[in-house]
């Protein structure tokens, strides 16, 4: 069983594998340091026969015992940084060419979802608006334009490993591409008032045919 919810986005796997890379590195340090502590506590517990050694660790020769491990820590840190930079740039850098653009506006305590309608433009009469339901086709790059009407909300798609705050006064662009059809939750991840707990939408990922059918059934006609 995985610790994470099932991953259904194209970039989610990269976040998960970066997580595991860090887990192996830090896990090794954890076992090494805690193991040493435990070993020293037992091996050097007070006994009448043994006296403590006088080792102030002030000469470079002695201090090397802690400086060299620090150097290794630094190298591993930089490795994690550079591995992470690539993943970050792919997800939060430039948004790739998108097949579909949807406006998501947070407000106490709902997600307002707006589709541009048949003319493909926002702010026109044929815009289609629903609350808390985000319908998207599978395998397409979806660009989400995040806004907020009141306080800061955070648009969280746990199954797609995507999180982005929605800040009043700003338009923030995010994107994702779902890899399988299904229904997933869209909780708000930033404290937004008394209704924060329970502020939750649904992401419905359709097959291409189903999505066309949904558009036909709900969007206004041309």
């Amino acid at each position: 069983m995985s610790w994470f919810p099932e991953n259904v986005s194209t970039f989610g796997g990269e976040i998960d594998s970066l997580f595991y890379l860090i887990l192996y590195i830090t896990g090794a340090w954890f076992l090494l340091t805690e193991g040493l502590i435990l070993f020293f506590l037992i091996r050097y517990r007070r006994r009448a026969s043994a006296k403590a050694a006088y080792i102030p660790g002030n000469t470079l020769r002695q201090a090397a015992w802690i400086l060299v491990p620090c150097l290794i820590v630094l190298i591993l840190d930089l490795w994690i940084d550079f591995r992470g930079a690539a993943v970050w740039a792919r997800i939060k850098g430039k948004v790739p060419a998108s097949d579909l653009m949807i406006q998501v506006t947070g407000k106490q305590f709902n997600w307002e979802i707006v589709y541009p309608g048949p003319d493909g433009k926002f702010g026109t009469e044929d815009d289609f608006q629903i609350e808390n339901e985000l319908h998207v086709p599978v395998g397409k790059v979806v660009r989400v334009v995040l806004k907020s009407k009141d306080v800061i909300h955070s648009f969280f798609l746990p199954h797609l490993r995507l999180k982005q705050d929605a800040v009043p006064g700003r338009e923030i662009h995010a994107w994702f591409e779902a890899t399988r059809p299904g229904q997933f939750e869209i909780p708000c991840a930033e404290l937004c008032g008394f209704g924060h707990s329970g502020m939750n939408g649904q992401l419905i990922v359709h097959t291409p045919e189903e999505y066309q059918k949904w558009v036909k059934d709900h969007w206004p006609k041309k």
């Binding site: 610790w3 994470f4 919810p5 970066l18 997580f19 860090i22 590195i25 830090t26 954890f30 340091t33 805690e34 502590i37 020293f40 050097y44 007070r46 403590a52 050694a53 006088y54 080792i55 102030p56 660790g57 201090a63 015992w65 491990p69 620090c70 820590v73 630094l74 840190d77 930089l78 994690i80 940084d81 992470g84 930079a85 970050w88 997800i91 939060k92 850098g93 306080v151 800061i152 955070s154 969280f156 746990p158 490993r161 995507l162 999180k163 982005q164 705050d165 800040v167 009043p168 006064g169 923030i172 991840a189 930033e190 404290l191 937004c192 008032g193 008394f194 924060h196 707990s197 329970g198």
Partner: protein
């Protein structure tokens, strides 16, 4: 020392740094009880949502938000800071440097009373109409900037006022710490003979003084938005919500080290005394501390990776954040190296000190996950973060704080604490701390968001509920275990074995005077001959060598 006739009669208005330290300690411990009660209510609600909390009743969602807000505020500003920085700093800095009191005893008294006023205001805020602040301990606007968004009016204004006063109090305290340690050191007490705790307290005081200014300005702007209708943080009037986040975290991240460094300082005093070995790499630790202090000013935006700030900013902050692990790794390695070839005994202070080390390592390592901007996309604002900062801060505040209290209790109150009770207290705390906060990581990885009152409202979180229940049960046992400390503390105050002046056979100056020390600390200002950790020196007659003990052998005198 600056005591008027009234103050002489009324001990509570004392200017004696030892009395003031105990006053900070008492207020901090009082707040710790309130903080613990909020933790209990939060945990009950999360395990058994929509049921009555035993001893309290039903928790409404807005009341839940108030609980999480006040839990954070209380634990960081009204428990951690008064105990680690103010109480231990006040008590130990003058004693450890061989001074009779602080450089400014009256300023010291003023800073305590301003802190007491801040505490009183925060306490009052629970009882005003609308209740106490409920916009999170980070108080992000616009949520915190308009009454309509939370329904809390004066509660939040008083929260801001209490914080502003508290900052003023600790600014005065910081000035006092610095002036005292620079000017009042006993003859022979060079900077590189200062105990590491003093170095840590000073670094913390400097970090605090340099970082708090922007936040005070930010808090005033927030108060003006709330009270007189300005729009610094409100976009409808041209304001910018993210401005607050930058001001808050420019202070807020250094603040983590303001708490952490004194905690590590306490541990750095206890470990050599119970290993009978000099601390390994004394100067390297000092340089590392200063480096960490400086780095702490350029990591703040790691709290804001997904806040909407320019994504290109994430990488520089991610790199500085992850690199700050290096100076702390050095301090941890130095502690471990001190244990190597020591002669280690396990009195209660040492158990808590080693406990701090063991727990802090895990907390530091999970910080690498959060510092990696890409991983943070997923774990930001989840319980993984909550678990991480409890591993770092619970270790610094409670494990290290207990190590310090058990260690210096004889010096503070002239009596020993009960060892058996202390050891049981340690093991219960250690086991149940881990039983609470290890599973919490997995709840976070499952995706559970912070500050939600009811995880059962989300389908994807429902499978995690057994873990939430386990955490709550363990948390209740953890909280109840602290009663052992309370009993031990009060029982020892009255009936503990009388303490000698140096019960742990330690080297620093506070152990060369009486327990408790007289009003002016030392009968005669001591002269310092050596660094503070000369344990098991081959030339010395016994395995400790007080800083103020002259030694005739030329080899030993050179050190």
């Amino acid at each position: 020392m600056g005591e008027g006739p009234l103050a002489k009669k009324m001990r509570i208005f004392s200017t004696d740094h030892k009395v003031i330290a105990k006053q900070y300690l008492s207020v901090g411990l009082f707040w710790a009880v309130i903080g613990a009660l909020t933790a209990y209510m939060i945990r009950w609600q999360l395990a058994y949502p929509e049921t009555e909390v035993p001893g309290w009743g039903f928790i409404a969602p807005d009341f839940y938000n108030m609980l999480v807000t006040m839990h954070g505020t209380i634990m960081v500003f009204f428990v951690a800071m008064p105990i680690l920085l103010a109480a231990f700093g006040n008590f130990l800095i003058p004693l450890m440097i061989g001074a009779q009191d602080m450089a400014f005893p009256r300023l010291n008294r003023l800073s305590f009373w301003v802190f007491a006023l801040a505490s009183f205001i925060l306490l009052t805020s629970f009882f005003v109409p609308g209740g106490a602040a409920s916009a999170g301990w980070t108080g992000y606007p616009p949520l915190s900037a308009k009454v309509a968004y939370t329904g809390v009016n004066w509660g939040l204004n008083l929260w801001l006022l209490a914080l502003a006063l508290e900052f003023a109090s600790f600014l005065m305290g910081g000035v006092n710490f610095l002036t005292t340690a620079i000017n009042l050191r006993a003859p022979g007490m060079t900077f590189f003979r200062l105990p590491l705790l003093v170095w840590m307290e000073l670094t913390a005081a400097v970090i605090f003084m340099l970082s708090v200014g922007p936040l005070i300005a930010g808090a005033v702007m927030l108060l003006m938005d709330r009270v007189i209708g300005t729009t610094f943080y409100l976009p409808e009037g041209g304001g910018e919500p993210l401005l607050w986040q930058h001001l808050f975290w420019f202070f807020g991240h250094p603040e983590v080290y303001v708490i952490l460094l004194p905690g590590l300082g306490l541990v750095l005093e206890v470990i050599p005394a119970f290993s009978r070995k000099p601390i390994f790499g004394y100067r390297a630790i000092i340089y590392s501390t200063i480096a960490a202090g400086m780095l702490s000013f350029v990591v703040w935006a790691h709290h804001q990776f997904i806040s909407g700030m320019d994504p290109r900013l994430a990488m520089p902050f991610s790199i500085t954040t992850i690199i700050i692990s290096v100076p702390f790794a050095l301090i941890v390695f130095a502690m471990i190296a001190t244990l190597w070839r020591g002669s280690i005994s396990f009195s209660t202070p040492m158990l808590f000190a080693v406990g701090t080390l063991a727990v802090f390592i895990a907390g530091g390592l999970t910080g690498i996950f959060n510092g990696s901007a890409a991983v943070d996309i997923y774990i930001h604002d989840t319980y993984f973060i909550v678990a991480h900062f409890h591993f770092t801060l619970f270790s610094a505040v409670f494990f290290a704080g207990f190590a310090g209290l058990y260690f210096w209790f004889p010096k503070m109150f002239g009596r020993m604490m009960n060892e058996t009770l202390g050891k049981i207290h340690f093991w219960l705390t250690f086991v149940f701390f881990n039983a609470v906060f290890i599973p919490m990581h997995f709840v976070g990885l499952g995706g559970m968001m912070r500050r939600i009152a009811n995880p059962m409202q989300y389908e994807f979180l429902q499978p995690l509920q057994p873990l939430n229940i386990l955490i709550t049960v363990a948390a209740i046992v953890l909280l109840l275990s602290q009663l052992l400390f309370v009993i031990n503390f009060f029982w020892s105050l009255r009936a503990g074995k009388k303490a000698e002046s140096n019960p742990w056979q330690a080297n620093t100056l506070e152990w060369s005077t009486l327990s408790p020390p007289p009003h002016a600390n030392f009968e005669k200002i001591p002269t310092v001959y050596r660094s503070p950790y000369e344990y098991s020196l081959p030339e010395a007659p016994q395995d400790w060598l007080p800083q103020d003990l002259p030694l005739t052998s030329p080899a030993a005198a050179r050190r």
